[in-house]
């Protein structure tokens, strides 16, 4: 390297630093950075807690929109916006994304990429957000690709295909950047795909490793799938995991086995469906796993946030991983080993009568889906589904929402047709018993419930807790709400005019605290009046 080039690169590096480029250290310290929101769960432990306290339980009643950005796109807005250096980066449904000026909410750039018409989808075309490293943003597109964008311009730097969407693969997950790699999951278990977790080089887009969530022949766990059912085993990975830098482990939950409701073609426990996985971040090798629902026949994906908390359990300090599972139980595991600590039902559960000491559910017979249908609680969506959760070190409470109620599960054996639904029958609502919901606060060391805020509809939004003693949530009917995080009492609300399907974020900009959320198809940023 000659002297001039060397100087030039130093200058460039300084410029980058001045621009506040996000390096691995910034990601590791994201919890201390009040001005940014740098990753899906705000920090690697997936807390979604910000220490910001300008907006608090006393004054939250006065917050008002500072700006509203109307995206003009329809579909489900489930995104966690990122914030850095005066800009908000938002992804939307159907492969749209925007950069917004934090001062005004005005659009800086708009990215979009068509969704193929023949893409088989189970659940709409949402996207859950960007990841960032350097001056690059990373997002998945519906057609199972991962794309890197230049954060300044929105231009595509590289795009790679994770899997062939024609086979039923698709993607909605917010990526997680770890050690210079972009880690992503995949969706498709409703179509008899075989799923995985991938890590790509952030610089080049080259794949560094892949972990198949359904082991192939000769691999441990393959024997838990009768015949060749592993080929269509599902176990999608459609919600972002967490990361422990000290242990260098990535934690990621997996979804239902395929076909969802018919266990007959896949005798066995069906590893690693409905499991929590701990993967070596450098190699993608499996360090431990814990399966929540062996041989699931109720579509109880276990993709919900793996939240890393150091907490006392039975009088012993534990490096725990807590997780609210769709099967109706709240779990605490030891995140160094995967050891089962405890599980507690948080909603009506009629299919299991507690757990063995190893954490295997003790089944109550008669809950296999049948042709005529069996009534099982919780219903198909859970319990707690995927919506972002929050842990407040201030209150010491873990917050998550829950869909409450039962469903009738029908089962039938179905032939596999590539690219078609492979569910093995259907769910039915119970006449006259609408499914409802709740926001729950539990003690993460015991699973004891501290409070419950009832919802007339199953929840749609995620949660955010703040140093101001607040918990922000949204509702299916379009309210954006601030609750007292200690007691669950509503302190403020706004009818936004569209369902709130996203978790809120918060950041400081030019000395003021903002709280922002997607509602309907708009992004709204709130602050105290000046």
């Amino acid at each position: 390297m000659n002297r001039q080039v060397w100087l030039a690169s130093i200058l460039l590096a300084c410029a980058a630093a001045a621009l506040g480029q996000v390096d691995s250290e910034a990601l590791a310290n994201s919890q201390q950075d009040d001005e940014s929101w740098l990753m899906y769960g705000r920090n690697y432990s997936a807390w979604r807690y910000s220490p910001l306290d300008e907006i608090d339980t006393e004054n939250v009643g006065r917050i008002a929109p500072a700006w509203i950005f109307q995206t003009g796109e329809s579909g489900k807005f489930q995104t966690t916006p990122l914030v850095r250096d005066g800009v908000m980066y938002v992804t939307g449904p159907s492969n749209h994304a925007w950069a917004l000026d934090l001062k005004t909410g005005r659009e800086l750039w708009h990215y979009s990429e068509p969704v193929p018409g023949d893409l088989p989808l189970c659940c709409g075309k949402p996207n859950r957000g960007f990841a960032i490293l350097g001056n690059r943003l990373f997002k998945v597109n519906m057609q199972a690709t991962l794309v890197a964008l230049d954060a300044t311009t929105g231009d595509v730097v590289w795009e790679v295909e994770s899997a062939d969407y024609r086979k039923g693969y698709s993607n909605t997950v917010a990526p997680l950047v770890v050690n210079g790699m972009v880690v992503v999951g995949i969706a498709g278990a409703e179509f008899g795909t075989r799923d995985f977790i991938d890590a790509y080089d952030a610089e080049t887009g080259e794949r560094r490793w892949r972990f198949w969530t359904v082991p192939g022949p000769g691999e441990p766990g393959n024997e838990t799938w009768g015949g060749d059912s592993w080929k269509r085993g599902g176990a999608s990975t459609w919600i972002t995991g967490s990361y422990d830098p000290e242990l260098n482990l990535i934690y990621w939950g997996t979804g239902n086995p395929g076909p969802d409701l018919d266990g007959a073609p896949r005798p066995g426990d069906n590893l690693y469906s409905d499991s929590m996985l701990a993967l070596d971040a450098d190699t993608g090798e499996l360090r431990w796993y814990f399966q929540f629902t062996p041989h699931d026949v109720h579509d109880w994906d276990s993709v919900a946030d793996p939240v890393l908390i150091d907490v006392e359990v039975d009088g012993q300090p534990r490096k725990a991983l807590v997780h609210a599972n769709r099967n109706g139980h709240f779990y605490a595991l030891d995140r160094t080993s995967g050891e089962f600590l405890f599980a507690r039902a948080y909603t009506e559960v009629n299919w299991a009568d507690g757990m063995t000491s190893a954490g295997r559910p003790i089944l109550i017979p008669g809950h296999e889906p049948t042709d005529e249908g069996t009534l099982t609680c919780p219903g198909m969506g859970g319990g707690h589904n995927w919506h972002a959760t929050s842990y407040s070190p201030q209150t010491g409470l873990y917050y998550f929402n829950s869909g409450d109620g039962c469903q009738i599960y029908h089962g039938a054996t179905q032939d596999f047709v590539e690219g078609e639904y492979y569910l093995g029958s259907a769910m039915e609502n119970v006449t006259g018993e609408p499914r409802e919901g709740s926001i729950l606060a539990v003690d993460p060391g015991t699973g004891d419930r501290r409070w419950r805020f009832a919802l007339v509809s199953p929840p749609t939004s995620g949660l955010l807790s703040t140093g101001g003693g607040l918990l922000f949530a949204g509702t299916a009917e379009g309210y954006f709400v601030a609750l007292d995080a200690a007691r669950g009492k509503p302190l403020w609300r706004l009818q936004t005019g569209g369902p709130v399907r996203a978790p809120a974020i918060t950041y400081r900009f030019e000395g003021r605290q903002y709280v922002a959320t997607a509602a309907g198809s708009a992004i709204i940023a709130f602050a105290l009046p000046r």
């Binding site: 039938a412 047709v417 259907a426």
Partner: protein, 260 residues
């Protein structure tokens, strides 16, 4: 492998012919019919019943369709839906092949024809608008009240069994979107009616006189949602068997064509 080849062949055929096809390319193919059945259960059974026996949607297991009895007629209703009714259009949400698979599944039912109601539609009509008092709450065409759902094409939209249930045991399966809101005010008054909205902070309702009310939860004693019918109960007793059959015959004959 044979199956793959067939799929491929069929895909090409479908792609080439699209909706122009008269007959499902999957006609009689066991595996496709199975896939169609699975798909039906997933997307259609909530309205048409798990065995296609009907419910909120008409029965589809009687081998006869109002829309016409060629495969292409059934394909068309599924793809385009029935505008203005609860029947959604699946053309944009499903592949052509998948719709054809469902068509082939629906064609496996033997023709048994409509369930016949042994009643007199004319006498039923008179009862509906007269002593039965139904017309005070229900519209047929332009005529009637609007507290209850419009019944203009109810005979086409619902199974006879659902109509009978709506009359005799109306709490059993309410039409989509119907619920009752019951509000108790701070001074102990109860106001109830058909809910037009309910959420975690408020409720809106329409009382029998048609008046709209809106309440905030924080301003009243309680707000409850109930899934029960506001239809007068006891038609089972107050109407004779013959009168019930006459009303059913009248409603079954309401196909949406008349009194427009």
């Amino acid at each position: 492998m044979r199956w793959r080849v067939l799929t491929l062949f069929v895909s090409l055929a479908v792609a080439a012919a699209g909706q122009e096809l008269e007959r499902s390319p999957f006609h009689g193919d066991e595996a496709s019919i199975g896939a169609g059945k699975a798909s039906f259960r997933l997307r259609c059974s909530a309205c048409h019943g798990i065995h296609a026996e009907g419910g909120k949607g008409p029965p589809l297991n009687r081998g006869e369709f109002s829309a016409g009895n060629r495969d292409a007629d059934i394909y068309r209703v599924i793809a385009q839906g029935v505008p203005g009714t609860e029947m959604p259009a699946y053309g944009t949400r499903s592949t052509e092949e998948n719709i054809w698979r469902i068509v082939s599944f629906l064609r496996t039912f033997e023709a048994v024809g409509d369930e016949r109601v042994d009643g007199d539609a004319e006498r039923g009509e008179a009862l509906f608008w007269g002593a039965g008092g139904c017309g005070g709450c229900h519209k047929v065409g332009r005529r009637g009240g609007s507290y209850g759902p419009d019944l203009t094409r109810i005979g086409r939209s619902r199974s006879v069994q659902h109509l009978r249930e709506a009359l005799l045991d109306p709490d059993e399966d309410l039409p989509a979107g119907y619920f009752v809101v019951k509000v108790v005010t701070r001074d102990g008054k109860t106001i109830s009616g058909i809910g037009s909205g309910i959420d975690d902070f408020s409720a809106q309702l329409r009382d029998v006189s048609g008046k709209l009310h809106s309440f905030l939860r924080e301003d009243v004693e309680s707000i409850e949602r109930e899934f029960k019918s506001v239809m007068p109960s006891g038609y089972g007793e107050s109407l004779s068997d013959q009168q019930q059959r006459d009303l059913l015959a009248y409603m079954q004959a309401l196909r949406g064509e008349e009194s427009r």
